[in-house]
């Protein structure tokens, strides 16, 4: 039991992510961080020193695209797992309209949400689009990859298309990093979230507070585990 569970006196826990979902998530997360560091090293001269983490700029040049391939494959896995639960619902608009209460942590003024709230759905869909955009434009910046896809699909990219690819790739990278910051910050700010992606469980109270509709469903399906009171230390 973590400190959080003890402090809040949690006696219930709800499984949120299976082992394979967590492994899938962390493959994407680690490759994202590696892509972020290697990509930023070529984004601005003041960050070129980051390339030393990978063994120099030349290594970054060939490694970054391959990490990108790992991320894309991993992300497809996450997309298949989670997209159904991220489809928009009417309550999402209510949630968004009350974004002030979200930011103030007044969860009691928000509608009951299922597995994902509108903010999480926004992160999911925007990252899905951006990953696709980054992959397509990234291929344009990747000599061997571009040659492969050109021969596969029988086309020849023009220099202006490649210039546009460079610009769009950089812009999409900025957006994806920005949304990633929101994603990580939300997990930090909303205490009790991390255990969902580390051990796979959240406390019942976390579900009650943030995803009550989801908790009700999990209770109905008998997935909530009751635990004995932790003995005093």
């Amino acid at each position: 039991m973590s400190a959080h569970d003890r402090d809040s006196g949690a006696h219930t826990r709800v499984p949120r992510y299976s082992g394979s979902a967590r492994i899938n998530h962390w493959i994407v997360a680690i490759s994202f961080v590696l892509l972020l560091l290697s990509g930023l090293s070529l984004f601005h001269p003041s960050l070129f020193w980051l390339s030393a983490l990978f063994g120099g700029g030349a290594t970054v040049r060939w490694l970054h695209p391959w990490i990108g391939v790992v991320l894309v494959v991993g992300f497809i896995g996450l997309f298949i797992r989670f997209f159904a639960q991220n489809l928009p619902e009417r309550t999402d608009w209510v949630w968004l309209a009350r974004i002030r209460h979200v930011l103030s942590g007044n969860d009691e003024y928000l509608p009951e949400v299922g597995k994902y709230n509108a903010g999480q759905k926004f992160v999911f869909w925007s990252q899905s689009v951006l990953v696709a955009v980054m992959f397509v434009t990234g291929v344009g910046l990747w000599e061997p990859g571009l040659a492969y896809f050109e021969s596969l699909f029988g086309f020849k990219a023009t220099i202006d298309q490649l210039r546009a690819a460079a610009l769009i790739h950089a812009a999409a990278a900025v957006l994806t990093i920005t949304i990633w910051i929101v994603h990580v910050y939300a997990a930090i700010w909303v205490r009790g979230t991390f255990s969902a992606m580390t051990r796979g469980f959240v406390t019942g109270g976390w579900g009650w507070r943030h995803h009550r509709k989801w908790l009700r469903k999990e209770v109905d399906e008998g997935k909530v585990e009751r635990q004995n009171v932790t003995p005093a230390e």
């Binding site: 959080h4 809040s8 006196g9 949690a10 006696h11 219930t12 090293s41 070529l42 984004f43 601005h44 001269p45 070129f48 390339s51 120099g56 700029g57 030349a58 970054v60 040049r61 060939w62 930011l103 103030s104 942590g105 969860d107 910046l141 000599e143 220099i159 202006d160 490649l162 210039r163 546009a164 460079a166 610009l167 950089a170 812009a171 990278a173 900025v174 990093i177 920005t178 910051i181 929101v182 910050y185 930090i188 700010w189 909303v190 205490r191 009790g192 406390t203 019942g204 109270g205 976390w206 579900g207 009650w208 507070r209 908790l215 009700r216 209770v219 109905d220 008998g222 909530v224 009751r226």
Partner: protein, 312 residues
Amino acid sequence: MFPAIPNPTTEKSAAKFGEKDMIRRSASTITPPAKRQTEVAKLIDVSKCIGCKACQTACLEWNQLTEEVGVNVGVYDNPHDLTANSWTLMRYTEYENPESGNLEWLIRKDGCMHCEDPGCLKACPSPGAIVQYSNGIVDFVKENCIGCGYCVKGCPFNIPRISKADHKAYKCTLCSDRVAVGQGPACQKACPTQAIVFGTKDEMKAWAAKRIADLKSRGFDKAGLYDPPGVQGTHVMYVLHHADKPQLYAGLANNPRISPLVEAWKGVGKYAGLALIGLTAAAGVIHHILQGPNRVSKEDEENAEKLAGGKS
């Protein structure tokens, strides 16, 4: 005849320019020297070119490059495009002049133009991989090149090529090693008709003016110098008989400039991007300071327990 450049002495002499003469260095901030060297230039007089490819051969020879044996597809261009080994290429165009009815064979020696405003250098993310000297030469520094190909996107003339062998970018150096000891580029040395001449940029402009006057007297009233202002001029210039239509010469850019896409990517985009990332991170920190963590309360846990208890 343009006066020939004398052969160098056999005595060792100091290089005429070097690191201290850098005015730009890719992905770096440098202080340019107070005094700029006299700008040099190569002048390619397309009207005098006979298409012998001696310049291509001299370039391979001097730079110790070997081009692959190609295939003949029925045109004179050989190889078919610039490569990591062929830093210069004769491009042949057959042009039927609608005014005179003549068939004109336009032969343009393609290669790096050594722009005063070099797009390759501005696009390069690797510190010191591309440098510009105060005499106007834009040079690639192999040791610092990471092979990313950004220079290819930055170049308004589509010149740099990435080697499949060592994954580094290559292009004409304007024979910076020869110029450093007072010689002209190898292509100029080999040219049998003085279609290629080399000297200071002012000398080249003056020589071009004579050639243009000559061409005009022969009926090429649109003859002129190609020294495009969109890249603040170049250190490789052309004399064209049809200077009003540069695109006739195997697609020479009419008004070359660094692509606005590249300017946006490498200019304002970088700062806007870093600012957006920084502001988002700062917003998170400020929000956490003001708002504090969003904790699950005891009541939440009790409610969950009640809910679970009622169902089990």
